[in-house]
Symmetry: C2
Subunit: 174 residues, 2 copies
DNA sequence: AGCTGTTGGTTCACATGTCAACCAGGGGTA
DNA sequence: TACCCCTGGTTGACATGTGAACCAACAGCT
């Protein structure tokens, strides 16, 4: 069967998207690490926890939010626990389950990290593109997500924001 | 100093971009692995080599193309060599240097993988977005790259295409 | 109650990436 | 030539991610 190759424009688009991906991930992760002592993964875990009621979530709920392999989540939580950022207890209603909670120390760290992180995001993306471009980004992402959902089995991932505390104390917006 | 948080639209854009990133990477890597026995990293190495004259590159040139840490490159090439996908020789003109070459086996693998890969890319992105959207993607990526270059020290990464053989036997375009 | 299949989590072995240390070979300069 | 610093590359220790195996608890049946 004949392969339909990418024309130069398509190829350029794909390459530049991959480049942006790598560059963004690397940058965001490094900034968080060096300035806040958190990996991007740590940040996302803490962000989701801080958004949850009482800063606690069942392990599997956290896993669904992050779209992480369960073994990854387990390992990562183990490490974060050792660092005192999160804690784990047995679930009362389901003896199998674990409840993950953010600790005061974890809370402090992400509250310190959030402004930096938001600053980076604005500095590297938001601050330099038009509203229309942002809109297109959302559109394209949506299409890709739909396609992935259609192809693979499962969902794709919900990136956590930065609302800390119960409500909006430190929400990303305004 | 007051932090300028992201408004809901900005936040949505950032989250969806992150989601797309994770979803795309995961998908592309898994497809290559399961159907071709290559990781995305392997694929990129082989793609760059196959595009180079005679399928050979100095290690550090490859490193620059990929924007990989030198230790990462060294480790990865070691593994690929063990699998018979690439080979290494001492450089004649610089006794420190190594020249990396793609092996016949590596060549076979990427020639088999390329059509699949291109199909995936089309299937998940190119085939579902308008030309204008693609153009915007390039624009935005460019801005981000510029920003990253301005902030950090170095460049960002040039994603390899799929031109195999010397010339265009299996080029992505056409 | 007793079976059975599913679900939530952990663990192990292994693949991969990062950083720092190291080493050998350039290449300039005295 | 001798000295020095830079460059290209490898290595080892360690952080992180993945898949499969495993285990205990739940849940539906009989």
């Amino acid at each position: 069967m004949a392969v339909r190759w990418l024309d130069p424009g398509e190829q350029r688009a794909w390459r530049s998207l991959m480049d942006m991906q790598d560059g963004l991930s690397e940058f965001i992760d490094r900034q968080l690490r060096t300035r806040c002592g958190l990996s991007h993964a740590d940040y996302q875990v803490l962000a989701h926890l801080s958004e949850a009621p009482e800063g606690r979530l069942r392990s599997f709920e956290l896993g669904e939010l992050l779209h992480w392999e369960k073994s990854r989540l387990s390992q990562h939580l183990g490490r974060m626990q050792k660092r005192g950022l999160t804690s784990r207890e047995r679930c009362r209603t389901d003896q199998r389950g674990a409840v993950v909670a953010i600790t005061p120390r974890g809370s402090d760290l992400i509250e310190a990290a959030a402004p930096q992180h938001v600053g980076d995001v604005r500095d590297v993306l938001i601050g330099h593109v038009t509203a229309a471009e942002l809109e297109t980004l959302v559109t394209v992402s949506g299409k890709v997500q739909d396609r992935l959902r259609a192809l693979g089995k499962g969902g794709v991932g919900s990136y956590p924001g930065c609302s800390l505390g119960q409500g909006h104390d430190l929400d990303l917006d305004r």
